[in-house]
Symmetry: C2
Subunit: 476 residues, 2 copies
Amino acid sequence: MPNVQTEARLQQSLTEITALLERHRVLAAMTHRQQGPRRDLLESLQHRQNRNELRKRLRMMHAADVAYVLESLSLDDRRLIWDEREPQQAGWVLVELPGTIRARLTETTSRERLVEVLATLDPEDLGYLSPSIAPDVMREVTRVLEEGERTVLEDTLQYDEDVVGHHMTREWVAVPDGYTVQQVLDDLCGRDALPPQTDRILVVDARNVLRGAVTLPALLTQAPSTPILSATDETTTFRPWDSARDAVHAFERYDLVSAPVVDDRGKLVGRLTVDAAMDFVRNEANLQALKRAGLRGDEDLFAAPLSSARNRWPWLAINLLTAFIASRVIGQFEGTIERIASLATLMPIVASIGGNTGNQTMALMIRALAFDRIRTSGAGRVMMKELTISVLNGTVWGGVIGLIALVLYGSPQLGLVMTAAVILNLIMAAAAGVTIPVALHAAGRDPAHGSSVLLTFLTDAMGFFLFLGLATIFLS
Amino acid sequence: MPNVQTEARLQQSLTEITALLERHRVLAAMTHRQQGPRRDLLESLQHRQNRNELRKRLRMMHAADVAYVLESLSLDDRRLIWDEREPQQAGWVLVELPGTIRARLTETTSRERLVEVLATLDPEDLGYLSPSIAPDVMREVTRVLEEGERTVLEDTLQYDEDVVGHHMTREWVAVPDGYTVQQVLDDLCGRDALPPQTDRILVVDARNVLRGAVTLPALLTQAPSTPILSATDETTTFRPWDSARDAVHAFERYDLVSAPVVDDRGKLVGRLTVDAAMDFVRNEANLQALKRAGLRGDEDLFAAPLSSARNRWPWLAINLLTAFIASRVIGQFEGTIERIASLATLMPIVASIGGNTGNQTMALMIRALAFDRIRTSGAGRVMMKELTISVLNGTVWGGVIGLIALVLYGSPQLGLVMTAAVILNLIMAAAAGVTIPVALHAAGRDPAHGSSVLLTFLTDAMGFFLFLGLATIFLS
């Protein structure tokens, strides 16, 4: 079993591997320069030793650690390490890599090598990788699989990422419901090893219908003659089409390690494990932060600039459009601004404080929606509360802003217009902060995605409109 | 054991409980109105039945589910349900509640009741709750504890939230290193139950130094006469002062269910379990989203408006300050704006697109920093890449913006100034998007906290300065 490493030791490995790679490059360049009969044998030997050292280091490491190291390296170094791996190990690393980096690596790998690497994987891992593999490579790999493996692969591919079926494993330990505890123990002793994260033995009848589950600790503390069925505990079960997010929430609430998945007739079809649940939580959290900033998804930090630039275009285009619309609102008041240029100076303050408070409200709403904490009746109450806060905050901070404007420009009217515009814009921001995520959620969309751009657009446009409009009425 | 429920069934329970509470309120109001001898016995009876029904429902539920229901209810309803719970059950619910809601509930609970509830908990849960409990209540509870429990509590309290010691449990199964597999099995059979998430048996020597660990599946598949030491597998261990975040990353990388914690001399002092790791991931993700929006922390959606308003003030004040500074930048160019009012119309576009692209860069950087994917050498490379992207994006989108300005105002000079300002502001935004999180990280602070406010300030102020400055030079 490869060494597992703590974070500090992992950083250490990374430093050492980077040094070996650096040396590798220097030696390769030297050897290359001295082609021909005068080629220096010593350097060539050093080069080979260095390479062996690198290979040995990597062979000792867990696939997840190699994936971690790959992520921190430049594209060339990744290729070098990747090409060194034996097919089976290369396959495991592929499974552990984030999607974006995996896609780049497979793109630049020769078709033969890729098929060879993929063929070493079990069908579930293949199903997991399939979105980042070219369809023709996938077909070729499928042809190499055995009949049973092919069925599993096809079964995996039918589930979307947001349902339990996509995340479940097809490895479990099941025993007949007629067994005693002793028979179960004998059965287990006869096996080489149990699948990872086996914390309970599943009990099924002759038709493979789940009758219950016995946790390993419970099994170990029972009298050997006890019928296994009377040792079963209540267990949470899922269906393959259940929402993956709901299932993960259940894992969190009940501190589950694994849970059986059954079909509509109660037959055992899979098992969901806590590592899949944790990956889901992590992945969801990462994606949300990136989506809120208007990125389509994750991005390889060392990818080529052009492909990264494109990842950011869709939301930039939307942002540009909304900024232009907000700007046209100002355009309607250019006459007023020509007369009172200080309005141009003060208007971004109204817009900015509106955007800030609206985003605070929205961050709380998005979190509450993600955990189903808001129901229709609740949304009304939250709206009332947020509106109250906005009037409160608007009066306090709008008053401060109005006073500063009065001091700066010596005009009480300007101060009052400023205060009124801030109060009104904060009310608008609170309403939008509650409404936008609720509406996106009700429309079946991710409330985090792009909500920030939409909100900032509203608070900008309304901030400019309220302030300049009030100024046009009361100051001209 | 209480019923565990899937998300849909939980929503159903919530609806039913809300209905019972509604009925409770109506009946209570009726009974109250008809005081005196003419008091309607039937209604009083209905009231009691309703209350019993509610009590029965809640008793059937898992503490985590009751906590979930409480979160979705108004303050009055929470109190009603909370007061109904028996002390032990009330204690479990308290552990499952989010910190903000827990704090509100304990504030309004009588001192006697609170001490009674807390005294039912084990010392580790008490340590976990202690930050939201008044010190004098805590002292009173400590006095009730037994000697051994008090030691555990004091041990728990010494660790900060960001180290392993704070999250570890002190419940584990350890066996002497001289045992055979059969002796270990006999030992386990003699116990009532094993602690939750026990996936491995720890092997210690006479001085309690950890010698290794045997997973339960491995234990079950070994010959009974095997010495336990030769059945041990390599196991990841942590120290109490290790970073909790690093430990959680190890749980994710190696799909761990539990891992022993040892002190400097290798003695076993605790055990870290996957449920604590998952809570940590979830909590970190939630806090980050809220912090980025400039909230101090989580907030009870149904809390009183005034206390919520205060939660949002610190960052509002900072935002106001930065908005004023940005506004003073515009103030320097009021003369130019008086002559060319269209500048006021166009300037928010330059600021807005700068803020948007800077936030994209920053979101990627924060994610990379959280996983230690950026090292000093890497930051330079990422900076080069982001600057390249900003020049690319600036030229493309700045060109589009310049063209639109040309069409709208018929001035080629204005279009060119606009394009130049966008390119320069995007370069500035990219530099800030890389530098701000790296600097916060290097200073030992959370790179997510407030970074967005800082970045928007820079892109606003620089956007106004670049655009109005260039316009003053080339258009006046």
